[in-house]
Symmetry: C2
Subunit: 106 residues, 2 copies
């Protein structure tokens, strides 16, 4: 089983779950109420999210509260970093081009 964060966020339902529990910890039942699937399907998603450490649990009696392990999200951010560098370079090049054109107009 692959189970990395990129595979985890590939599914739209999982992205929605992530967004949901980012704000506050929730039980599987409460999460499932927000979707058109069964509790079991949500439970399966939560297992996947847990497996790649995107989610943490806190047991309270028979209820289990799930919340987002927000630090893990930074892995995606780090991966994007290499492309952000390219954006910036391109932007600077464009910037230089524009100022060159400006100079020529004078």
């Amino acid at each position: 089983m692959r189970r990395d964060i990129f595979q985890a966020i590939a599914d739209p339902t999982r992205r929605a779950i992530i967004a949901l529990i980012a704000l506050q910890a929730m039980t599987p039942n409460a999460i499932a109420e927000n979707f058109n699937t069964t509790r079991q399907a949500v439970s399966k998603h939560l297992r996947i999210l847990t497996e790649c450490e995107l989610v943490k649990q806190e047991q309270k009696g028979r209820e289990i509260y799930y919340s987002l392990e927000i630090e893990k999200m930074k892995e995606v951010d780090q991966w994007l970093e290499q492309f952000r560098k390219i954006w910036e370079t391109r932007f600077n090049q464009l910037d230089q081009l524009l100022s060159t054109i400006k100079k020529q107009k004078k």
Copy 2:
């Protein structure tokens, strides 16, 4: 077919292809040389990347050069934005906590 950027970057080979052609345009054959798969498999990945507009082609004779449509990568960046806000809030809270502790020490 779903075909969104999150599904596209879920596959590790595709992420590698993206990183490769981000730096310079390459032909399918040249790309395939970097991996343990057949040219056809790479070709299929390129088609998927093209379908979700992550990649653009430029034909030169019988060769086709693929390069990254870097703007599209910003979609992931935008999605991360909501979590970045949470990071910053948490960070500020930690910051406040630390300065409170500092004050108490005095």
